[in-house]
Symmetry: C2
């Protein structure tokens, strides 16, 4: 691989930005990587690990001379960062972000960017339940989708950013911001909210102790706790920023849940059986598409087949 | 290890029974293992794999001379199997089951058993999303809990069954049937119903294609699809048989979900942040208790730490 950007500025140094740094280094995609984070503790950890060539104290300083600027802060902080860096951006630079919501980020960021930069919002659909600069690793994006929002930007700039993501191991798809927000509401935001809720219910139930919930979690519950352990700040901002799509999908969800609840109450076994049979097909599709392992229990147990 | 039961009869040869056969053989716990299943196809597969010493055509035949009989059929079929085997059970035999619901199974099975046998219901909290005789493996129960319901049975018989489970690798806990059904409703049944519902919603949404749901599933959704791929017959029976506890926990779940939905609608970021922070503690507890891996994404991704 060869260098795609001469100087990349990473604003925010959590799981995604640190993984990008590792992935760019793995393939030699950036001449130089400059990083910054709001918290001095995060900056110190990044310096200690050394995944950036330089760690600087402010976003304004980080973007100077960068031909790619990556906003990797919580969605609710994007607007303020854009306002800070706007006056310091190099002519012709590309600005992108990694936020989980796109329409709200565009609305918050675009007004602060000068006309001489290319704004190409993005969203890598990758992550783990861990967060912070120590959690990053080069393989995070391998064979995972990254969605880019062309958003009227220059085609050459968009393709260059697509090349970077592909060289970091990702598969890239383009779509508009509104469709992104609906798709992600289904595949990510609503599942996370539901997982948080289920874990909260278990935590509240006084007749079942926390220790019982923990001991017997392997029966299904523990799968929910993984995504309910994700970064609270990030997820607060996601739900506030993707309110309409989330409320819409939640409405569909409760409607279906109530229908199943009624089948349970009335003892309609056929309806339950049909529903549970139908949902198996999607799992098969996910495995065939290489987006999950078919090993039982995600490979946690002794058998892998 | 030494032999704990001279002849074990497995009625039903799916994931749990076949795993028990493998686990008993691993440690030499059964003098002889006799298996049977309702479907001739299942019996043929069991014969081909050879995890039983003998596979016979009927449950009545299987239990003859057995000192342990394991009912490993869907919860809804337990009563009929008990009626079939009742007259053929050996004096002093222990009868157990592996159903996911306990009060309803006791109600269905107990009336058919003669006084000269010991009925000790059980539930191994282990399983994967796979089913059938080919899906079993010896390590399935290792370090997982099995719950036994003493149910007034002879202490010696109960302890012998506990010894078997421990020798198959399991941790064993005793509790009464009603408490079991409530605990499992929280840690297993309701999470499964919610997962099925979320997958059903995604499948229904015509503006988001199935192919998009599959492509972008790594963002959270795929964790739900694993447990929503579990055996439909088994789960239909679970919900019908554990109706009261499931409806109670579903009521709590929707109450909490509506509170979070309101926080999203009104933009109450503090309430969301507090909720999402609280649920992290349970995840930590599960990992500390050795009931899940701390490797990011269950170890599916490139990094294990």
């Amino acid at each position: 691989m060869s260098v795609i950007y001469n100087r990349v500025a990473l604003i925010g140094l959590g799981l995604i930005a640190s993984s990008m740094a590792h992935a760019m280094r793995r393939a030699g995609l950036a001449g130089e990587i400059i990083g910054t984070a709001r918290s001095s503790e995060t900056r110190d950890i990044a310096r200690e690990i050394g995944f950036c060539d330089r760690v600087v104290d402010t976003a304004a300083e980080a973007v100077v001379g960068a031909d790619l600027v990556v906003l990797a802060v919580p969605v609710g902080a994007m607007g303020a960062v854009a306002a800070e860096i706007g006056p310091h951006l190099q002519d012709g630079a590309t600005v992108t972000d990694v936020g989980s919501v796109k329409a709200a980020v565009i609305e918050a960021v675009a007004p602060h960017l000068p006309d001489h930069v290319h704004f190409v919002p993005g969203h890598p659909l990758a992550g783990t339940e861990h967060s912070g600069p120590r959690s990053g690793f080069a393989a995070l994006f391998d064979n995972r989708w990254t969605i880019l929002i062309p958003n009227g930007a220059d085609t050459t700039a968009t393709e260059r950013l697509r090349d970077l993501w592909q060289a970091m191991g990702a598969l890239v798809e383009m779509m508009d911001a509104e469709h992104h927000d609906l798709v992600l509401s289904v595949t990510s935001h609503t599942p996370h909210l539901i997982a948080y809720t289920m874990v909260g219910v278990a935590d509240d139930l006084s007749r079942v102790t926390d220790s019982e919930v923990i001991k017997y979690s392997a029966a299904g519950f523990r799968d929910f706790t993984r995504i309910a352990a994700s970064d609270p700040t990030m997820w607060r901002d996601v739900f506030l920023a993707n309110k309409d799509a989330t409320l819409e999908i939640l409405g569909r969800f409760t409607e279906e849940l109530f229908a199943l609840q009624r089948s349970i109450r009335t003892g309609d076994g056929d309806a339950l059986f049909d529903y549970f049979t139908r949902t198996r097909a999607i799992r098969r599709g996910i495995i065939e598409a290489g987006q999950d392992t078919d090993a039982p229990d995600f490979g946690r147990t002794g058998k892998r087949d």
